[in-house]
Amino acid sequence: MLEVNDVSAGYSLLRVLWDVTLKVSSGERVALIGPNGAGKTTLLRVVVGLLQPYGGKVIFNGEDVTNIPTFDRVRKGITLVPEGSRVIPRLTVYENLRAAATTKEAKDKFTDTVDMLFTLFPILKERKEQLAGTLSGGEQRMLAVARGLILRPKLLLVDEVSLGLAPKVVTQIYDSFKELSGMGITLVLVEQYVRKVLQSTDRAYLIEQGRIVLSGSSRELMVNEYVRKAYLGD
């Protein structure tokens, strides 16, 4: 479904990614783990087109999308839930969702999708008319995920959804990922909360200093000596 081939990227002179190659198949749940500043967020930005790579290709469903703008990639089925949720604070919960219905499919199925999302995240239904800026951190994160789902993506990229949240809320959000996966949505989860994400995914890549240093099934990485020492604190 998604192929990233030899991508190098960065911010003008500051190079962040070095020849990154990875593959995600349809229906998979894939984790990208690694320390702060490793380039995980940058990689996601390249995949959705918020950042133009120096070199390399992004291929989605067999099509080279490296040079098309972000909103077009969204139409093709790639959606990003950005780091730190970043909801639109001065719009209500409902308006945040409505603003995300930018494609024809999303507009047509909007009411159904919203109903589905309100079952997935009941708290958002209660907060429907509230300004998004007044939600708690966990609720904002749920709204950001829900906003991405309004677009009925084929591939959902989620950046650091657990950052700064209580474990209980994290579990709740990860439970929702399980359901999304059941609906056939391909997931790429960027996380520093390594144990949780390895438990909930099929495969994982470890990124350090802009390079992929390790990859394999999530179960393999869980028992890998290096990962256990450096990331799981065993």
Binding site: V48, G49, L50, P69, T70, F71, V74, R75, T79, L80, V81, P82, R86, I88, P89, R90, L91, T92, Y94, E95, R98, A99, A100, A101, T102, T103, A106, E126, R127, E129, Q130, L131, G133, T134, R147, G148, I150, L151
Partner: protein
Amino acid sequence: MSMFKSLNIKYIVPLAVILYALPLIPQQPYVTHLMIMTLMWAYLATAWNILGGFSGQLSLGHAAFFGIGAYASYFLTVWYGIPPIVSLIVSGMFASLISIGIGYPCFRYGLRGVYFTLATIAFAEILKDVFIYLRDITGGSLGIWLPVTHEGIVNLYFISKESYYYVITSLWLLLMIILSLAGRFKDYLIAIREDEDVAASIGINITRYKLMALLISSYFTGVGGSFYIYYFRYINPYTAFGLDTSLQMVLISVFGGMYSLWGSFIGSLVLTPIGEYLRITLGGTYVGSHLIIYGVLLIIIIRFMPRGVFGIAEIIRSKYLIRGG
């Protein structure tokens, strides 16, 4: 359906009744003039706010569109004999057309923030100089006069000031209704203002929507300029394209609350009469002193109400909703 979207309509209807009924109370022509100015600046600030407030692209050159609307109306009326009521609608299109000249290069190549603002100021200043320079066509710095014509709505020429008041009130109400109904469009613009990366990530074509905001904003601003020349029957390049005119729209909008559809009206309701009053009482004896007082008032108010008068309403609204939720 958002609760506050329907509330907008709920407010507009009774307000329309009040505004239309106001001239039934007999009053001095000067008071009517003041009401016309208040509505005109409310209208212009609302039009500015589509681009400056909702999409967050701070234009300090909206006089360009105001001036084009005014001059286009003059040319259409005097040279081509097109009925003023038609020119009023068409002149805005010229303003939109001109706005592409500044908007496309800026938005396409990512001129943001302060650089966009500077570009808009330069754009209006260039137009001003061009209109001063092309004396044979534009009348140069002396400006242009509209000839006296037959009274009536077709010619937008009335002896009584009340008729102008009804015209500008209707224009403003129309704009408010259009904007109240454009909920989704407004959401897109606000998303762009608050976070361009997020807006792109949810599939909003940022360049396109910024351009649309500019086209619509400049259209209505141009219509405002058209109204101005039909009311005053005179304009010159300094008024038409001057920074004062641009700033007035921005100040009213920011003062009233640029994040709200109602801010511009509230802003004009307060600032326009104060400005006029100070000009009349002080402007003659101590030239310029009214501007000092006006400026100090603005500094104080913006210092203590950074989100404008309407920002207070927003704070109350969110507090109430936290308690309520």
